[in-house]
Symmetry: C2
Subunit: 326 residues, 2 copies
């Protein structure tokens, strides 16, 4: 089985690559080759049990997608995207990469012909939902994005469903929860604090909390997200019917519950490193975001998320800190 990962240099791309190398298979079928693609050449992993190709390519340029699928891969993970903040700041770039790039890819597949119909696993986002929203969002609620990023993802979902319905590809779109705990440095994303209030204290550093503890959001660990991607690559899509896009299981927690879980796992000393510094701008942005979902279809299709937020904290400690707290 030939596999391509587009967007392989990002957080999920790197973790997915490591998982594919560890597994050696997708859905029980041995991986025969892996192509890693990003706008910068992805790092080449060592000790893979199959040949790996690494490529720098920009899918938002017409013609690029054709070369990426020339070997007719069986599974294409399409993770490449301009993130929310940048898509809002640079309107043209966001649409070029997040809409045109995805459409170029889908069209390149369609135009291959000869019965070529690969599995395409596409990462969408809960950013396709925007306020006003019910407290718990079920699978039948309308997509109402309040950002250009969310709009582009919602459009990609529609394309994925239509191209799948027409038989051009075998697509599945995954509305990933907000990933937490993200490894790395604090960033300026409005959602950054969901990770940093856990990550910084576990690394012995102070963290800023800009919103009240009552704020509720929908989170999944990086490990759970990779589990979704791998499960989606091997799923029997006849069970999906025409609805090719799924909201995935997350953990709906308040910031207060996040902090309680941090205390449970790492004690008061960690919690004491969280500094309250209210930021009205961030609070307002977060106010339009989803608080929780009832991802019934994904659960029925066998997708499994994190058990609770304490597990998410422990996954960060295991996967990023070698099991040890600073």
């Amino acid at each position: 089985m030939r596999v391509v990962v587009i967007g392989a240099a990002g957080l999920l791309g790197v973790k997915l690559t490591n998982r594919l190398i560890a597994d050696g298979v997708v859905g029980g079928t041995a991986i025969s080759s892996l192509s890693l693609v990003d706008v910068v050449t992805p790092a080449r992993p060592e000790n893979a049990p199959f040949p790996i190709e690494t490529r720098a390519a920009d899918v938002s340029l017409a013609g690029t997608a054709q070369s990426l699928i020339a070997a007719q891969p069986d599974v294409i993970f399409h993770l490449a995207a301009i993130v929310s903040g940048e898509a809002e700041a640079d309107f043209d770039k966001g649409y070029r990469v997040n809409l045109d790039g995805t459409r170029f890819l889908f069209d390149a597949i369609r135009q291959t012909g000869g019965g070529y119909r690969p599995r395409v696993v596409f990462t969408s986002s809960i950013a396709v939902y925007g306020a006003p929203l019910p407290e718990t969002i079920d699978d039948d609620i309308a997509l109402t994005p309040l950002t250009s990023y969310g709009t582009q993802k919602a459009i990609d979902e529609l394309l994925l469903a239509d191209y799948s319905r027409r038989g051009f590809l075998d697509g599945i779109g995954l509305r990933l929860p907000t990933i937490c705990v993200r490894p790395g440095k604090p960033n300026r994303a409005a959602s950054g604090f969901f990770s940093s209030i856990i990550r910084e204290p576990l690394n012995g550093q102070e963290a800023i909390l800009p919103v009240p503890e009552t704020v509720r959001h929908w989170l999944a660990s990086p490990r759970a997200a990779i589990g979704f991607l791998v499960h989606a690559a091997a799923l029997d899509t006849t069970d999906l019917g025409a609805r090719r896009n799924l909201t995935l299981p997350g953990v709906s927690v308040t910031v207060g519950e996040q902090i309680s879980a941090l205390r449970l796992v790492a004690g008061d000393r960690a919690v004491a490193l969280i500094r309250r510094r209210p930021d009205e701008t961030i609070a307002k942005i977060i106010g339009g975001w989803p608080r929780g979902f009832a991802p019934t279809r994904a659960l029925e299709l066998g997708f499994r998320g994190d058990t609770d937020f304490a597990e998410i904290v422990r996954i960060y400690i295991d996967d990023e800190l070698g099991g040890r707290i600073a």
Copy 2:
């Protein structure tokens, strides 16, 4: 007030033109000029109280949209589209006209700059909804198109909302019910019988009914549809918030109720002209369509549809037959 109608040669375009000429105003403001655009040059109406320009132009060609809005019209009615059947038969053409054409128009407006922010009234369709659906679809139900046409309209809705949110245009999208009674000849559209079982008998001709009388659908007269377009052109869009696309009021009737209304208005002699000829293919297509809506937001915003199906029959007789039945 400068007004442009793109798609002016179609059923709704012609009726909208006549209404604008009759009114002379949009939302109380006098029309100073009207530009009529279609892929074929629209007929030039006579006796208009303002200058009228007619143009043949294809909005799906890059660069065309710029010339259509060079005079910076205040209101743009964008009705142009490839219909459902053709968009399904010709994948490229459907996406080129229904998606790219609309995006070219929106981008041309965006790139005008200088604070130019026209009202854009866009005709979407209930084809953005596909089975499985609740018996009555409220304003918060997810868009799940089962045709490329419905997909393209759903994408256009997302673009309209995002471009409006960003302040590039002041858009409103109207999910029109199936238009009934359409004047003219029988056509091969799957929806054609909803009109032809009324139109043909009123013209003294036989009509074919391919589905059971229990089939329920969501209909509006051409006159009601034009009322929606005109109301949308003058609406205070601050009341819309970020949700720029509306399901409009229709009449939810079964085919049996359509026939009862025909009997009420035109008697048994008309009803006797309907021939039952079951068609499994058409029945299956119609089975995936919406049966009824609760268009709460549109009603709150002052949109008014037909009272009942008997009124729809009478509107056809008044507007197309000069008030007389054959």
